[in-house]
Amino acid sequence: MQQLGMGQAINRALREEMLRDPDVFLAGEGIGTGIHHSPMLPTAGLLKEFGPGRVKDTPVSEAAIAGLAVGASVAGLRPVVEIMFNPFFTLASDMIVNHAAKLRYLSGGKSSFPLVVRMKSGAGIGAGCQHSHNLEAWVAHCPGLKVVMPATAADAKGLLKSAIRDPNPVIFIEDIMLYFVPGAVPEEDYLIPIGKADVKRQGKDVTVATWSKMLGVAMKAADQLARDGIEIEIVDLRTLVPLDKDTLLGSIRKTGRLVVLHEATRTGGFAGEVAALAMEEAFESLKAPLRRVTGPDIPVPASPPLERFYMPDEEKLIAAVKDILK
């Protein structure tokens, strides 16, 4: 099977959907003619193939980009717009939070907004906190938005294709570091349903619920823990909204222990939601208090040692797992 980075897998998804449906178009800053030229990037080559009518380079105008998606989608087009970095979401947030998320409800279900907003996220690029800030919990808090955060290239392709076909606004958050991690990606047209978690590793001792780049941390920790005879079960949520409660709770009931792992900062992070769900619906199964492994409550720092300190890693996850097995 072909080995692709997540950016390339996203590229395949965009291309396939644009070929399938003439209503799909792309817009964003530098998505056609950009400052970086790498075949690893999601929109590489699409301007050449589809032309400037369907691959729209925009001014640096996040509110207009998001509004473009809202207005075009209510007409039945399928916009896939890019907000270059997750923190720039704030400039587009009125269009996403007050409009994309709410206008269908306000219309009594008469108007629909089938749009996708792609955002790059994640620490590890040394760019500092105004480029690296994972805000998935913000968008997950807004009813009316679906929130997808793939961890593998194969998932990214299938999930993005589903997002483009979904009749609702979907926020699709891509970790930039994953653009450069090769993974097996099927060549055929396949969809991965939004709202379905995936157990990436079976285990009996502790459930680790995670998403996006932190899946890699969990997988590495699992190998190390296995050497000590500890088997963690890794549930990749893939979609935060709608949340696949059945898979998550099923795993917690099986292992009786839960660690939630995410890169975003701790307070108000989505781990709190997962933890509350476990307490409300699987309390009787829990053999130990749950743990969160997250970024600390600081802006993402720029300097390499500081940024490494920020990022949750195998060591922190292993410590949490061993702690609740005591």
Partner: protein, 320 residues
Amino acid sequence: MQISKQKKLEMLRSLLLSRKFEEALTELCKIENKIPGMMILCTGQEAVGAGVCAALEMEDVIITNHRSHSHLLAKGADPKLLMAEIYGKKTGCNKGKSGTLHLAVPEINAPCTTTVVGGGPPIAVGRAFAQQYRKEKNVTVCFIGDGATNEGSFHEAVNLASLWSLPVLFVCENNLYAGAQRYDEHTKVRNIAERAAGYAIPGVVVDGNDALAVYTSAVEARARAVAGEGPTLIEYKTYRWRGHGESDLQLYQPKEEIEAWQAMCPIPKLRDELLAEGLISPDELGEMESRMDAIVKDAIRFAEESPYPEPHEALQDVFA
């Protein structure tokens, strides 16, 4: 520009309907527990909606705002469904989810309405992009107030519409107040239309109380847009007779100022012209007024007799 008798009568009818609809609301919203939430009226500004919408085809789209009643009625919305929505009833155009502020009527191509000041322009740009993408010969009208032109989203939207030559009419009703701030307290430029120069698009200033002038300017801007020549910013000078909302005591609006503008009411202006031209007789005018009264009365009856939604219906319509 030659304006047909039919168009003129359509505008007069629209002015009368909107005025009567809102005069009824002015009284109804004072009655306890009758109408929930805020009441934001466009009384005195109706010529803008009437004139602009008369220049549109049904397939043209409008994106309007919190002060939307005259726009929607002029575009052809069913007064019964609007009134029921304003009452919060299940039979309302949005099943009670919107109330008076965000009335969406996709049936008349008013697919979404926003109360966020400055929220409309980026959406209008997207909707107009869809028209351009599909090579439709239609336009999107974005109704905004003077206050919205100080939002960043307005400037982003106008720039993009200009850059891509999108078929948008940015229709600014300068009613002299944004909330409690008089125009000269919130904006330095003398006319909002001057801002168009910053985006290399035409900006025109028009008497917003003159329905025929409004119509003519909208026809011209529409023709430009449909020809692929891009957006126009039209500033209609008008006046907000009522407060920002009905709970506003208008302490900051001088009484003489309100009276001076009321003397320039758009309704007698058009009505007297049509009477003088013999396009309508006093009897026919009386009939038209009675018909509009009856429509409003029917709408109120429909709203009052309609049931409220069941509480659990609050859970519906979040996702498709």
